[in-house]
Subunit: 342 residues, 2 copies
């Protein structure tokens, strides 16, 4: 599809005066100029609608062609666009999981079938009936584990599209072996979604991407507004992809701190679940509720995720992120104090 | 609809350690830290999904309730979401106009009826048959005029929804009298879309808003991903709304420079059309084509919009933006040189 709006200034190395794009010709006023350098260069011109630099980097990172990649205004936009474009009449969604899969499916009027995870938070494949789409988070939020143990097990299901949200997979040590990215070429039904919100902590600029077979990408692209990824997002995401040391340091820290937290939570009598990610779901002690625990921690300046509103969980569950030792210690100390009287 | 993802750190004035949001705990690496101050504070945390500060400002600017406003990832997202949510089976679109109205209508499979503007680029209301939606740009891109002379004329049409894109209206001196914003309360069919891309030149961060009756906003909101507006966009748009002096200086400059350009274009034998905006459509001389003119200007370092791919126009038309006197003079000088031999 040809891009037909004019304004290709990003290709011209600033040698052109752009009369093709209808925007205010005045320089920024003083109040705006205070907002500083690099970002500045990216906030005014239209962002590259082809997202070329990033697409190049991501395609060589994963060994994919550019036609197999689509960038979104956060991975959430990509979830919505997939549903708008593929219009499944029925969608199968595990419970508990990230609630946007269900919200997006509801928006298009799809029939939703929730599949409860088993006691180890695994997806019981035998309870999945014929459906047009299966959406799941791999590893799963908020449980922290892979709900599918063997990737290829799902391929025998009679399902037209799999949307696999790998938002947290890069925190996992065996992410390369676990990811569905390497199955894209083998099975056209697979759509993988990745984000720059979690490992690369850029939630504020909204950027994610989807990987799928060319024709699926083309179908979804028709529903995408032309300049959906902003300039600051491109600048930041592109820089982050060069930060391999940051990725390694993160994985190391998360592993160490996750083990520390799990050990301490167990010592306090809670039931933390195994996690391959940067968060931990745990079950409270008999008689405790997530609401009370959340409020007591909040009064000590600590916020946790009350999981009572996750379909498939209840007020016995909370989720915490894995942070630095100093913060993690503060959480554990606060929990100790609370548990003395609760 | 309750927002149900946890992570409300923006309300806590930094007093909390946020264990509720699953993001990387490490500080930014050096390569990222170079990207400077304010923007920095907005790129890492999740952006406010309720866009509260901006919504407050826009609602008091227009005298509207917050339930009548919806922010988007650029006005283009709002055009797409309106179509996804309202699902018109038929859409009426003037020609020539901004091509995204038709692209978005095609995505949802609507039947599209193009209405050719008359020789003064006015919309012939009598040629509009019963349709579910009318989308138009007010004032129109690329013609630069109001295609509807009297706002209330369209209200007698038998149409379920009007989407009125007022992207350029703030450049017009009588924008308050001309805007459909003041008719929102009187006619529930009206949806007005505004942007921070044109008068406020923030194309790079993608931000716009829509104004409509509460129930229409609710319907469209159900199709919107939760964090669709990024942090830098909120910081910048919010600051720009305080810049009234900038707005006044812009309007004054645009009026003066538009008059200068129109006079000079006429003197060169071109046919510029009247414009109330910051751009001018003009017709070339007998035997000239937009392609050749564009190429010759490009070789002099100047880019213009070749309008030959606008439905309803052809290779006799080009569009230029109104810029500062120095740039405008350079364009006119270049056109003079070209016209000596063309």
């Amino acid at each position: 599809v040809e891009f037909e709006h004019g304004g290709y200034v990003q290709e011209s190395n600033g040698q052109f005066i752009d009369f093709s794009s209808n925007v205010n010709p005045l320089p920024f006023p003083k109040g705006i100029r205070r907002l500083k350098a690099r970002i500045f260069e990216s906030v005014r011109p239209y962002p590259d609608p082809y997202i070329r630099e990033l697409c190049e980097k991501v395609s060589s990172l994963h060994g994919l062609s550019k036609e197999e990649i689509l960038f979104g205004n956060g991975s959430s936009e990509l979830i919505y666009l997939s549903l708008f474009a593929l219009k499944p009449r029925s969608v199968c969604i595990p419970a508990p999981t990230f609630s946007e899969y269900e919200r997006a499916s509801k928006a298009i009027g799809a029939e939703i079938e929730r599949i409860e995870l088993d006691e180890n938070f695994l997806l019981p494949l035998s309870s999945i009936k014929d459906t047009e789409m299966l959406i799941f988070c791999h590893p799963n939020n908020p449980t922290g584990n892979y709900i599918i143990e063997n990737r290829k097990d799902i391929l025998s299901l009679n399902i037209r599209h799999f949307i696999i949200d790998e938002a947290f997979i890069e925190f996992s040590e065996d992410h390369e072996k676990r990811s569905f990215l390497s199955l894209i070429k083998e099975d056209k039904r697979i759509i993988v979604i990745r984000t720059f919100t979690k490992l690369f902590p850029l939630a504020g600029v909204r950027i994610g991407y989807m990987v799928a077979e060319k024709e699926v990408i083309e179908r979804i692209k028709a529903f995408k507004p032309p300049w959906n990824v902003n300039g600051p997002a491109m600048v930041l995401a592109s820089s982050f992809l060069e930060e391999r040391g940051f990725v390694e340091r993160t994985r190391k820290l998360v592993k160490k701190e996750r083990e520390y937290l799990i050990k301490e939570l167990k010592a306090l009598g809670f039931k933390p679940y195994p996690s391959v990610t940067n968060f931990i779901l745990f079950k409270l002690k008999e008689g405790q509720t997530s609401k009370v625990l959340r409020e007591r921690l909040q009064s000590k300046g600590i916020m946790i995720r009350d999981c009572s509103n996750f379909s498939g969980l209840d007020e016995r569950f909370v989720r915490i992120a894995v942070k630095t030792r100093k913060d993690n210690k503060r959480l554990i100390e606060a929990l100790k104090e609370i548990c003395l009287k609760y």
